[in-house]
């Protein structure tokens, strides 16, 4: 009896090869038996197949332990154990590009090699990753065992395989390289039957499948992505790691959450209260129920977390001056401090904070919150000089000569005058001036009828402030519709709730004085084509006018900066300082940041810009490279890429508000904050693996058919690539698009 044992991997056609060999001998009139040793039925798993040949009927129905010859379809399977039971002088027929001499580690046996994968691919048998080599090998076998090629041809025809199999077999028949007996001492590897004890079912590991080392078989493999961007992170003007801090919140780790926030912003408590939170607008959770209340969580982290003041690892001696202690200036100072500088801020006002102090009313941003955040910056090593205006060319020149770099962060502190005909100074005031007076405690009596002109946040703040000062009737006049109002949506709603009236599509024309009363004449408008900023332009409707009586008229139609103190060589365009995204001006020592450059109008944008300008200054002083903040938009995880059906619906935790009748009588904070991490648990962690910590068992662990994924911490998983067969089911089932695939470059064929 001749006994062949075939070593291959599931999917390679090894069992079929056993049958083809059987056919070859059966056609010659022998009795044959061909069968596979079926293990787990998986692509890539090592498999055995056998062909027995005899002159008489074969009646042994057990497997073959002492083969005469081996056929090795995958050289990565070669180990000393492969010789187990092989009879001396037997052939090892190996699919390999190397000559037989290459395999001189098998003394006492003979080696024949054939580059069957190449030949099979030449005839388009199988795919590049899984060439099917059985007929090719059969051709080589016929040569090795001294058969006529016609036998192979007859066999392939008998089993109805396509013509190109014959061509591949013919090539192999002529190309196979047959070696002599490898010299040296015969290496006999005895058959070892498994004898390790089997753990009992109940106390043992129920149902654990054997780890199959099929890792080297795959052409692709999954990995936990590190560059998928959650949409909230992408859309944060400050560049905050929102997903990251919420992750810490899910664990109730307020300090950790605040620490993550503080990497990008020194003002989380302020932005949590005043940012229009564009992050929430892009939250994927809205495709399930309601978006995450990110600003409420930021506020919770900022209010409850505790982080020690900065202690930079190195102290730098270079001096940086910053003009203006608004959010841009504070952020720039804070980030410079992180680099080790000790910047000095020059502030013209008696208290630091810029527009956060002078413009934003206390019912939105209480003084104690702002004070605490500024104190943190001061405690970290930033010096703030108040009542220190830099408002003349000489004072600016002095800074330039004393400091290594100067950052201009003066904001837009002057209201634009509408120059309304008939307006008198006694009852017309700029919105910024009105808010400044109230914030610094000056007595302001707006009277019975207040009109606010404008649609931005200053207009809303002024109107709500006027209400709180006792004005029974406050009307906002805006020349476009509510759609186009640049003010924060929630703020508009709060103003309406408090009783502020909105008159849309009216533009002020001039002021009349009749019977001792001031009357604003307004003209009806309609919306035309969108302008450069995308908002539809108002067009006057001829002959349609209305009149509104007022006791105070507040103008909130835009702001500007007084830049007369600047040196001439600093480029200015349309009243704004010209810089690049990092705040680098035309003067190499001068940098500019915030609204005076970009007119973004939010604290959050200013914080983000402040970080970039700090990078630029550091780059200028130390030569460190500028970081690349450009984010690849295609890496944002969308709801469509996620498997949202895993997530149970839940209600958004809204921030409770103080009751209207109570809050409009004072400047107490309106939004009261939440005190629960439940909202953090609603976060889907888009694109970032959290081991499904917030929604049950890790889906990749659950679905991996090879059980190669394991938890290493409560929120981190690891793939055992030796067992991973690259099926990518984990990637498909991942609820949050946290898994990517990569192609594996096959190394040169192992020996």
């Amino acid at each position: 009896m001749i006994k062949f044992r075939i070593h291959g991997r599931g999917g390679q056609g090894g069992v079929t090869l056993a049958k083809i060999l059987g056919f070859m001998y059966w056609i010659e009139g022998k009795w044959v038996q061909a069968f596979g040793d079926y293990s787990a039925e998986r692509t890539g798993a090592p498999i055995l197949a056998f062909t027995l040949v005899d002159d008489v009927e074969i009646t042994n129905r057990s497997k073959i332990y002492y083969p005469d010859h081996l056929i090795i379809l995958d050289p990565t399977l070669i180990s000393d154990n492969i010789l187990s039971g092989l009879q001396p002088g037997g052939y090892l027929i190996i699919d390999s590009p190397y000559p037989p001499e290459h395999f001189n580690r098998f003394p006492g046996y003979r080696v024949a090699t054939i580059n069957a994968k190449k030949t099979a691919l030449k005839y388009k048998l199988g795919t590049k990753t899984t060439p099917i080599t059985n007929t090719t090998i059969a051709g080589a076998m016929a040569k090795v065992f001294g058969k006529d090629f016609s036998i192979v041809e007859k066999t392939i025809k008998a089993i109805n395989f396509p013509e190109q199999n014959i061509s591949a077999a013919r090539d192999a028949f002529s190309e196979v390289k047959i070696g002599d007996i490898v010299p040296g001492k015969l290496k006999v590897i005895d058959v070892v039957m498994p004898s390790e004890p089997i753990p009992p079912l109940i106390t043992g590991n129920i149902g654990t499948e054997p780890l199959l080392n099929t890792g080297d078989w795959k052409s692709e493999e999954p990995f936990y992505s590190e560059d998928h961007i959650p949409p909230c992170n992408f859309n944060c003007p400050a560049g905050n790691n929102i997903r990251g801090f919420i992750e810490e919140m899910t664990k109730g780790n307020y300090d950790g959450a605040l620490e993550i926030l503080r990497e990008t912003t020194p003002l989380p408590g302020s932005t949590a209260r005043v940012c229009p939170h564009p992050c929430e607008d892009f939250c994927n959770r809205k495709d399930i129920d309601e978006k995450i209340n990110i600003h409420a969580l930021e506020r919770l982290a900022a209010d409850k977390g505790k982080v020690k003041p900065l202690k930079p690892r190195i102290e730098r001696k270079e001096k940086v001056a910053i003009i203006g202690s608004g959010p841009a200036g504070l952020s720039a100072a804070y980030q410079l401090r992180r680099f080790g500088y000790r910047p000095t801020i020059y502030e013209s006002q008696p208290e630091p904070g810029g527009m956060m102090r002078t413009g934003i009313p206390a019912y939105r941003l209480p003084d104690d919150v702002l004070n605490a955040e500024i104190q943190y910056i001061i405690d970290s090593g930033v010096e703030i000089k108040c009542n220190a205006p830099i408002d003349s060319k000489s004072s600016f020149e002095r800074l330039l000569s004393e400091y290594d770099a100067v950052i201009i962060a003066v904001g837009l502190s002057f209201g634009s005058d509408l120059k309304l005909k008939g307006a008198t100074t006694d009852n017309v005031i700029q919105g910024v001036d009105f808010l400044w007076k109230v914030n610094f405690g000056e007595k302001v009596s707006p009277g019975l009828h207040v009109i606010v002109i404008g649609g931005g946040n200053t207009a809303i703040d002024a109107s709500r402030t006027a209400l709180r000062l006792g004005a029974p009737e406050v009307t906002i006049v805006y020349r476009r519709s509510r759609e186009e109002m640049p003010a924060i949506r929630e703020e508009i709603e709060a103003a309406l709730k408090e009783g502020v009236k909105l008159r849309f599509l009216y533009s002020p024309v001039h002021v009349l004085h009749r019977e001792g009363k001031s009357i604003l004449q307004v003209q009806k408008m309609k919306l035309g084509e969108p302008g450069e900023d995308g908002r539809r332009k108002p067009i006057p409707v001829p002959d349609e006018y209305d009149e509104i009586e007022y006791t105070t008229l507040i103008l909130a139609t835009g702001q500007y900066a007084d830049l007369s103190f600047l040196a001439k060589d600093i480029a200015i365009e349309n009243g704004f300082i010209k810089t690049d995204a990092f705040g680098i001006t035309s003067h190499d020592k001068v940098f500019a940041v915030g609204d005076v450059v970009s007119n973004d109008g939010t604290v959050t944008h200013a914080v983000g810009f402040g970080r970039r300008v700090a990078d630029a200054v550091h780059h200028y002083i130390s030569g460190a490279p500028l970081p690349d903040y450009a984010q690849d938009k295609s890496k944002i995880t969308t709801a469509q890429q996620m498997n949202l059906y895993y997530f149970a619906p839940s209600k958004r935790n809204e921030i409770p508000e103080a009751p209207v009748e109570k809050r409009t009588k004072n400047f107490e904070e309106v939004n009261l904050g939440i005190d629960t991490i439940e909202e953090a648990l609603r976060c889907l962690s888009c694109g970032v693996c959290n081991a499904c910590a917030t929604d049950g068992i890790s889906k990749c662990v659950l679905f991996c058919p090879e059980r190669t994924i394991h938890k290493i911490t409560s929120t981190k998983l690891e793939i055992n690539y030796e067992g991973c067969k690259g099926c990518l089911i984990c990637m498909e089932v991942c609820p949050r698009n946290a898994i990517d695939k990569r192609t594996i470059k096959k190394e040169a064929m192992a020996q």
């Binding site: 069992v15 059987g22 056919f23 009795w31 038996q33 061909a34 069968f35 079926y38 009646t59």
Partner: protein, 397 residues
């Protein structure tokens, strides 16, 4: 017959199709099919041959479960068409209700069972527990040793099951992978040969719309008892009809399929090994080699398990001093901890005949463990030294 090199699965599927088509001049044939490893190739073969037009009058029902597969077969059969299907392991368990219905309806359905270990834990390899679960409900059971026996016994099963003296379904069983996926030379029947061998199916109780009646409705206790007793009497008619089928086979094809129980070197044996299915082939191998060494060992292969060939067994065993029974199956909690299902029948047979041979039970190949010549030699060694029997001995752990 035509010579082919093929797996048991292909051989089974082919033979089903040919035998089914042999009924085309009567009411044709049909099958309900559902795949399960390692049986799938059988039903795939049937479908391929059907698509090639090898089944001229018939229908294949691709159903959603094994339960429905047998349900379809019952419907086909009760309409008077020739019906067959195949399943394995847990598929048979899911089919269980209708497996019992088929025999209680007295329908001559033929089913190939590929013997696979019942899960959990999940195991695709060979063990006989799946078909033996159905030993008590009137199915004829044949355990095949090689692919040729499978072919021969599918042909014979239609002949026997459809005989009016029997009218009971048949299971023709092969070991998972050891036969189902193993290629060996086989003689397959041509269509003409099957046509000649098999009479057209004439089911006496087939449903006719011109004369409607109900089968399987409510029955009072004595009615059911009487029907069961009829089955009990008639299942033993299988032995006579089996002989008829053998004779006819030999007459037409020039080969005589073996008896329900067969001996080898049994006449003068001191030790007899009793086995079934593919284990018998390996046992024969070992018996031959031990005889060459002068050891007086013989064997008896039990091919038919239901009805159990008691008389033949008694004759074959004769006066052998010691009997080793090899079971690739196990009944938990059996008397004296002797759980082999075949060995229990052997005990019953020998005790009733007054025989007092030493019988030792060996459990082999559970969960698809390989039964090698070594294992069998160990058993011969063990029983030759043995003075008295003990509980089942598990080999290979």
């Amino acid at each position: 017959m035509i010579s082919e090199l093929c797996t048991a699965n292909y051989a089974g599927g082919y033979t089903f199709a040919i035998c089914g088509n042999a009924n085309r001049k009567a009411r044709g044939c049909g099958t309900g099919i559902y795949p399960i490893t390692p049986q799938t190739e059988i039903v795939e073969t049937v479908v391929q041959l059907f698509d090639k037009g090898k089944i001229e009058k018939g229908r294949i029902f691709h159903v959603e479960s094994e339960h429905s597969a047998m349900g379809a077969c019952i419907g086909i059969s009760v309409e008077g068409a020739r019906s067959f299907t195949a399943t394995s392991s847990n598929g048979a368990l899911y089919m269980a209700e209708n497996i019992v219905s088929a025999s209680l309806f007295r329908l001559p359905i033929v089913m190939q069972i590929v013997n696979r270990t019942l899960g959990p834990e999940w195991n695709i390899w060979s063990e006989q527990g799946d078909s033996l679960m159905f030993r008590d409900w009137g199915w004829i059971q044949i355990y095949c040793e090689n692919n040729q026996e499978l072919v021969d016994h599918i042909i014979m099963a239609f002949y026997i099951s459809e005989n009016h003296k029997v009218l009971l379904p048949s299971m023709v069983c092969v070991d998972a992978f050891i036969l189902s996926h193993t290629m060996m030379p086989v003689m397959l029947p041509t269509q003409e040969e099957a046509d000649e061998y098999l009479p057209l199916l004439d089911l006496p109780h087939r449903l006719k719309h011109e004369k409607p009646f109900t089968i399987g409705g409510l029955a009072l206790p004595r009615v059911t008892a009487s029907h069961r007793y009829d089955m009990e009497k008639e299942i033993y008619n299988v032995f006579d009809v089996y002989k008829e089928a053998q004779d006819r086979f030999e007459e037409l094809f020039g080969r005589r399929p073996e008896d329900p129980a067969i001996g080898h070197y049994h006449e003068d044996a001191e030790i007899i090994l009793i086995s079934s299915s593919t284990v018998s082939s390996t046992v024969r191998n070992v018996v031959d080699s031990l005889r060459k060494k002068g050891i007086k060992v013989g064997m008896v292969k039990i091919k038919m398990f239901r009805p159990f060939p008691t008389e033949q067994l008694i004759k074959l065993v004769g006066n052998a001093e010691k009997i080793a029974v090899l079971d690739r199956n196990f009944a938990l909690g059996a008397p004296n901890k002797i759980g082999g299902i075949f060995v229990q029948e052997v005990f019953n047979s020998l005790w009733f005949a007054g025989s007092r041979n030493l019988v030792q039970s060996y459990i082999v190949g559970i969960g698809g463990m390989d039964v090698t010549p070594n294992v069998i030699e160990d058993i011969v060694d063990d029983i030759s030294k043995r003075k008295r029997p003990e509980s089942s001995i598990w080999k290979g752990l």
